[in-house]
C-alpha cells in the first residue's frame, strides 16, 4: 500500500467533488426559483416575471452544463482510484448511481428541451409543468446522491458475502432515517444558494441603478425566501447533528472538540484543538448542560469524548472542527442578512440602504462556502472510514496505484479544471453583468437540450439580423 498515493487520491477526490458540487447546488436552487417565476408569470401575467425567467434560464444553462461535464468524471473515479470500494459496494452504490443517472437523463434532458424550444409551441400550462419537471429532476438527482452517501455514513440493509456488500433490504437503504434529515438539509442548502445568488444580483443592479423593476423583485424574493428557509435549515442542521451523535460519535467528538467523556456535556464555541496533547487552546465555551442540550436534546445525557475512542479511529480533528464552525457562521450571517433585508424591504427602505445592499451583493459566496464546508464536515468527519465502521479508506484504494500515477492524474485534473472553471465563471459573470434583456427574443433553432450552454451563447447575440436568420 502506497501511503502517498492514498493521500493524493483523497485530495483528488476532494478536489473533483468540491468542484462539482458548486454547480449542482446552484442549479437545484435555480430550477426551483425558475418554477416559482414561471408560476407567478402564469398566474399574474406580468411581463417582468417573464424577463427575469428568461435571464435566469440562460445562467441555469451554463451552470447546468458545467455540472454535467464535471459530473462525468465522478462516474469513473470510484473505479480508477477506489477499486476495492467499487468492487465491494458496487451492488449497492452502483444501482443508486444508476437511478441518479437514468432518472436525471429522463427528466432533465427531455424537459429542458421544452424550456428552450417550447415557449411558442406548447400551451403555457405545459411550459410551467416542464419547468417543474426540470426542478424535480435536479431534486431527484440530489436525492439519489444523498441516499448513496448516507449509506456510506450509516450502512444498512446489506449482508457481507464473499467480500462484497450484498443488498438484502432496499427499503432500509432508501428509507434510512439518516437520508431524511440529510436530503432536506442539502436541498434547502441549494435553495438558499439560489436565493442568495438572486438577491445578490438584485442588489448589484440596485447599486448600479440599472434594471430597477427586476432588481426589486430579485431582492425581495431572494431575501424573503431565505428569511423563511434559513430557520428551517438550522432545524434540519440540528437533526443532522442527532444522527451524527447516534451513529458516529467519533465525528461528533471531533466537531465539538470534546476530548473527555462528559455527563452532561459542555459546548465549545471556539478553540484551537491541540491534537498532540489532546486538549483545546484558547477555549470559549458554554458550561454544561449546553453540550448535551445541543447534541442530544437532553439536560443530562452523557457525551462521548475522543479519549474513549481509539486514536486509529479518529478523523483528522481540525478539519471537521473548523469546517463545521465556518458552515454555521455562514448560516448565521445569512440568517441575519435575510431577516434584516426582508424587514427593510417590507418597509420599502431597502433600496436606499446602500450598506445593506453592498452586504447583500457581497454575500453570494456564503452559501457556497457553507455547502463546501458542510460536506467537508460530513466526509472528513467520517474518516478513517469510507463505509463507516466497516471499510477503511486506506483499504478501499486501488492496491496497485502508484504515487507517480496519482500525481500525474491530480496535476492534469487541477490544470484542466482551473482552465475550464476560470472560463465558465468569467462567462457567468459577464452574463449577470449584462443583465436581463427586456425585448422578446427568438430561440435559435440549433440550440438543443443536449447543449445547455449554447442557450446563453445564442441569446447574447445583439445582431438582430442573425436572430431573424435563426428561425
Amino acid at each position: 500500500m502506497d501511503m502517498t498515493a492514498l493521500f493524493l487520491s483523497r485530495i483528488q477526490f476532494a478536489f473533483t467533488i468540491t468542484f462539482h458540487i458548486i454547480f449542482p447546488s446552484f442549479t437545484i436552487g435555480l430550477a426551483a426559483w425558475l418554477t416559482v417565476l414561471e408560476a407567478l408569470s402564469f398566474s399574474t401575467g406580468r411581463p417582468v416575471y417573464r424577463v427575469i425567467f428568461d435571464f435566469w434560464l440562460k445562467i441555469f444553462g451554463v451552470a447546468f452544463g458545467m455540472g454535467v461535464v464535471s459530473g462525468i468524471v465522478m462516474a469513473f473515479q470510484f473505479g480508477t482510484n477506489w477499486s476495492v470500494l467499487s468492487r465491494m459496494s458496487g451492488p449497492i452504490q452502483g444501482p443508486l448511481l444508476m437511478y441518479e443517472t437514468f432518472w436525471a437523463f429522463m427528466l432533465e434532458a427531455s424537459f429542458f428541451g421544452v424550456l428552450i424550444f417550447g415557449r411558442s409551441r406548447v400551451p403555457p400550462w405545459f411550459y410551467l409543468f416542464s419547468t417543474a419537471m426540470v426542478a424535480l429532476g435536479t431534486t431527484f438527482s440530489a436525492f439519489w446522491i444523498m441516499v448513496n452517501n448516507s449509506w456510506m455514513q450509516v450502512p444498512t440493509g446489506y449482508v457481507l458475502e464473499n467480500g462484497s456488500f450484498v443488498p438484502n433490504d432496499w427499503s432500509k437503504i432508501i428509507f434510512n432515517s439518516v437520508v431524511w434529515s440529510r436530503f432536506p438539509h442539502m436541498v434547502l442548502a441549494a435553495y438558499l444558494t439560489g436565493a442568495f445568488c438572486v438577491a445578490a444580483t438584485g442588489a448589484w443592479y440596485m447599486l448600479r441603478k440599472v434594471y430597477h423593476a427586476e432588481a426589486r423583485i430579485m431582492l425581495r424574493m431572494g431575501l424573503g425566501l431565505a428569511a423563511v428557509l434559513m430557520p428551517i435549515q438550522l432545524l434540519f442542521g440540528h437533526l443532522n447533528g442527532e444522527y451524527v451523535n447516534t451513529y458516529q460519535p467519533s465525528k461528533m467528538a471531533a466537531i465539538e472538540g470534546r476530548w473527555n467523556d462528559e455527563k452532561p456535556g459542555s459546548e465549545v464555541l471556539f478553540a484551537w484543538p491541540d491534537v498532540e496533547h489532546r486538549r483545546n487552546l484558547f477555549t470559549i465555551r458554554l458550561p454544561p448542560p449546553f453540550g448535551s442540550l445541543i447534541d442530544s436534546d437532553s439536560l443530562t445525557a452523557a457525551e462521548t469524548g475522543l479519549n474513549s475512542i481509539p486514536p486509529e479511529n479518529w478523523p483528522p480533528v481540525l478539519i471537521p472542527f473548523f469546517a463545521f464552525r465556518i458552515m454555521v457562521g455562514c448560516g448565521l450571517v445569512m440568517l441575519g442578512l435575510a431577516w434584516l433585508g426582508s424587514y427593510l424591504s417590507y418597509r420599502h427602505r431597502l433600496a436606499y440602504n446602500r450598506p445593506l445592499l453592498w452586504l447583500t451583493f457581497l454575500s453570494f459566496p456564503l452559501p457556497f462556502i457553507a455547502i463546501i464546508t458542510g460536506w467537508f464536515t460530513a466526509e472528513v468527519g467520517r474518516q478513517p472510514w469510507v463505509v463507516f465502521g466497516v471499510l477503511r479508506t486506506a483499504d478501499a484504494m486501488t492496491p496497485f496505484l502508484t504515487t507517480r500515477q496519482a500525481t500525474i492524474s491530480l496535476v492534469i485534473f487541477c490544470t484542466v479544471y482551473s482552465f475550464i472553471f476560470l472560463f465558465g465563471t468569467f462567462y457567468i459573470y459577464r452574463m449577470i453583468r449584462t443583465g436581463p434583456v427586456r425585448k422578446p427574443f427568438a430561440t435559435p433553432h440549433l440550440v438543443v437540450p443536449n447543449r445547455p450552454m449554447s442557450l446563453a451563447d445564442e441569446m447574447l447575440i445583439e445582431n438582430p439580423s442573425h436572430l431573424a436568420a435563426g428561425e
Binding site: I72, A75, I420, F423, L446
Partner: protein, 330 residues
C-alpha cells in the same frame, strides 16, 4: 436478469461507439480543415448531437458499476492513466464546442482542444480494446501489469485503427449532412480512409495469426462466428459501390454496419468472458437483489424512454445542415 443487463450494456456500448464515433471522427478531420467557414460547417454538423452521444459513455459506466462491479473495478483501475486522460480529452473537446465562439483571439486554443481532445479520446479507446483483445497481465485475478501494462504494439496499432475508423465514420456523416465544399472533401476522404481501415484489419488479422492470440482459438471452436465478418464483408462491398456512385447516404449506413459487425464479432469472441480469459459474465454479475432493483427502476421503462428520446433528438436534426453560419455567431 444477467442476460438483460448484458444486453443493455452491449446496446449502450454500441450506441456510444456509433454515435460518439461520428463526432469524434469529425473532430479528427477538423484538424485537416482550414478556414473558419469550413470549420464552422463541420461543427454545425455535429454540434446538436455530441453531448447526447457522450451520455451513453456515462450510461455504460453506471451499468458496468451497478451490474458488473467486478469488471468496473478491474478495468477502470487497470487503465488508470489512459482513462483519466481520455475523460479530460472528452471534457476539453466538449467545452471547446461552446467556448470557441466566445473569443476571436483565443479561438485557436479551443480549436486545438477540440481536435486534440478528439484524437486523444479516440486513440485511447482503440488502445483499450486492443489491450483487452491481446490480454492484460493478471495474477490470481488481480491486474498485475503495473502503470503501463496496457501499452503494447498491438494496442497502439488498434488505437491508430480506431482513429481511422472514427474518421471514416465522421467523413461519411459529413457527406450525409453537409453540402458544397465539405461534402466534396468528404467524398475524397472516404475512399482513402476506407482503404486505411481495410489495411488495418488485414494487419490485425495477420498479427493475431502470427502471435497466436488466445482470442483466435475461440473462432476455431465456433465457426458460426463468421456470420458477423461476412456481414461486414457484404457491407464493405456495398460501401465500395456507393463510393463509386458518389452517394451521400449509403456510405454512412454501410460504415455503421461494418462497425456493428466488428462489435458483434468482438463481443462474441469475448463470450462468455468480459475480460478475456480472466473474468466471466457470471463471475462479474452483481447479486440478484441489485440486478432486480435496477431492472424495475431503470431498465424496463427508463432505458427504453432514453432510446426513444435519442431517436427524437436525431429526427429533429435530420436532413442537411443549411449553412455554415448557423452554429454560433461570428
Amino acid at each position: 436478469m444477467v442476460m438483460f443487463w448484458v444486453s443493455l450494456l452491449a446496446i449502450s456500448i454500441l450506441l456510444y461507439v456509433l454515435l460518439d464515433g461520428v463526432d469524434l471522427g469529425v473532430g479528427l478531420l477538423f484538424s485537416l480543415a482550414n478556414g473558419e467557414i469550413r470549420r464552422g460547417a463541420m461543427l454545425s454538423a455535429v454540434a446538436p448531437i455530441w453531448d447526447g452521444n457522450e451520455t451513453w459513455l456515462v450510461v455504460t459506466a453506471v451499468i458496468l458499476w451497478g451490474a458488473f462491479p467486478l469488471v468496473y473495478a478491474t478495468l477502470l483501475s487497470a487503465f488508470y492513466l489512459p482513462l483519466i486522460v481520455m475523460l479530460l480529452g472528452l471534457i476539453l473537446r466538449g467545452v471547446a464546442f461552446e467556448f470557441r465562439y466566445k473569443t476571436q483571439r483565443a479561438r485557436w486554443i479551443w480549436d486545438l482542444s477540440f481536435a486534440g481532445g478528439s484524437l486523444i479520446a479516440t486513440f485511447i479507446q482503440g488502445m483499450t480494446v486492443g489491450a483487452l483483445v491481446e490480454g492484460l497481465p493478471f495474477t490470481n485475478g488481480q491486474y498485475s501489469g503495473g502503470e503501463v501494462g496496457w501499452l503494447t504494439p498491438f494496442a497502439v496499432l488498434c488505437g491508430v485503427g480506431l482513429c481511422l475508423g472514427y474518421a471514416l465514420l465522421g467523413a461519411c456523416w459529413l457527406a450525409k449532412k453537409c453540402e458544397a465544399e465539405i461534402r466534396e472533401v468528404a467524398h475524397r476522404q472516404i475512399p482513402v480512409l476506407a482503404v486505411g481501415v481495410l489495411a488495418f484489419l488485414v494487419v490485425v488479422f495477420a498479427y493475431a495469426l502470427a502471435e497466436n492470440l488466445p482470442i483466435l482459438h475461440r473462432w476455431i471452436d465456433r465457426p458460426y462466428l463468421f456470420v458477423f465478418p461476412a456481414i461486414g464483408a457484404v457491407a464493405a462491398a456495398v460501401l465500395a459501390l456507393s463510393i463509386l456512385r458518389h452517394n451521400d447516404r449509403w456510405p454512412f449506413y454501410m460504415v455503421s454496419l461494418i462497425f456493428i459487425s466488428a462489435f458483434g464479432t468482438l463481443a462474441l469472441s469475448f463470450w462468455p468472458y468480459m475480460i478475456p480469459s480472466v473474468i466471466t459474465i457470471g463471475e462479474a454479475a452483481a447479486p440478484h437483489s441489485s440486478l432486480a432493483f435496477m431492472f424495475w427502476g431503470c431498465g424496463v421503462i427508463v432505458y427504453p424512454l432514453m432510446l426513444v428520446y435519442t431517436v427524437i433528438s436525431y429526427s429533429v436534426f435530420r436532413g442537411k445542415v443549411r449553412s455554415a453560419s448557423e452554429y454560433g455567431h461570428h
